[in-house]
Symmetry: C2
Subunit: 244 residues, 2 copies
């Protein structure tokens, strides 16, 4: 039995941002497992089976991938961005915890360019000082915890990156977060909406908090909030290296 | 004049973690600028001039790179990891702010695999939920601000990544941070010391906070601290996707 499992990050969209490590793992895989739009990014081959699955079935997908690796398959679980940032790596380890028999499997996590860093690079360097990454989805945690973390980060003057800022199932959360930020950070704080970075649909827009509205974000958007020193230079926005 | 400037991330060390985008920029560059050990990672070519410089001269280096691009050179400023995370992108934008004449230059930031995400991938998925990145160097900010941010992050139960945890010039800072974490997070919280990730000198070690000592980190180490739910599974450490 020579099966293995790689949990790999495909980066934000452009194949030029996929690491050679991930490309090589895909090249020797027998099976690719993941959310439908991420599996759609893999070039089909005759000796490669694609297993696309729907959103919100992460645990089923993780168990199926581990079972295939235990059967001798060479399996790549694909995530967009980095697999360790609000993505499949934690789901696979949760599944592994429940199945001690699989804990001897050859499992590796292959990092990728995560959305917030691709977005920051396009905008300039808004995360150039201490920053937080916060998932605004309340599928897996209470909205009160999300608000408490945003408050703590804003009060300590971290720059921030928000993943999954907005969905149709919870249209109000992001509006409340914007109101909270406005209260703590003031109307002139810079906020960047980065949609579909590195794809043909890319849109980058930086505004002052006073002008920000919930409609500026959707589920393909990463939102970056500067710290108190973040400013514009030419067409860029950046956070200086010194603070305090 | 067809000069340009790319501020590029080389990833943590392994060439397999350099994106094709960065490799291509280096391939068409006339000049590479950066800190000595990062420039040493570039393959020399007859039509490429390497400009290695010492640590702590970031602003001189940024101005020199902009001046060369303004003169028509094709310049890549290289950082380890990602250029937007405690690295050269902010320094270049600081230099640009002081020189409006250069603000029309063709400038791009090319993201890279940052140390904390490469380290997290090796360890499992310790940053699998909301997390903060904090630079523990007090070269550019007061120690009191560092401690206030670590305290805020720990109290809000973020996972954390510390860059530049320890140097000879300030051997006590990291010991104070460990003591603060022990007080807020308790002795059983998991902490990972990841040294020289993806290089032949790589060392990954996860211990409980009660066992952590300042000597476990040096300037080549990234330190990852789990949140209250972070746990071990087999040889890995991971943070579940749900919390609260």
């Amino acid at each position: 039995m020579s099966g293995w499992l790689c949990i790999a990050g495909l980066g934000p969209g452009d194949t030029d941002l996929v690491t050679p490590e991930v490309t090589r793992a895909l090249g020797s895989a027998t099976d690719v497992v993941g959310y439908i739009p991420y599996v759609a990014r893999i070039t089909p081959r005759q000796d490669l089976t694609l297993h696309p699955s729907d959103n919100r079935v992460e645990m089923d997908r993780a168990r199926a991938a581990l079972a295939m690796a235990a059967d001798g398959c060479r399996v790549v679980v694909v995530s967009s961005g980095d697999p360790g940032v609000f993505a499949m790596a934690s789901a696979v380890f949760e599944a592994l915890e429940a199945m001690p028999a699989w804990q001897g499997l050859d499992i590796r996590v292959l990092p990728g360019i995560t959305a917030m860093l691709a977005a920051a690079a396009r905008a300039g360097a808004p995360l150039g000082h201490d920053f937080c990454a916060i998932n605004l989805s309340d599928n897996l945690k209470p909205a009160s915890l999300i608000e408490a973390r945003v408050r703590a980060a804003a009060e300590a003057d971290f720059a921030m990156a928000f993943y999954n800022p907005r969905s149709n199932s919870r249209p109000d959360t992001f509006g409340r977060i914007l109101a909270l930020l406005l209260q703590i950070c003031g109307p002139r704080r810079l906020i960047t909406f980065a949609r579909a970075v590195s794809t043909p649909a890319e849109q980058i827009r930086t505004v002052a908090l006073a002008e920000a509205t919930p409609e500026m974000a959707d589920m393909r958007t990463v939102v970056l909030v500067g710290n108190a020193a973040t400013r514009r230079v030419g067409r860029f926005v950046y956070t200086p290296r010194s603070a305090g």
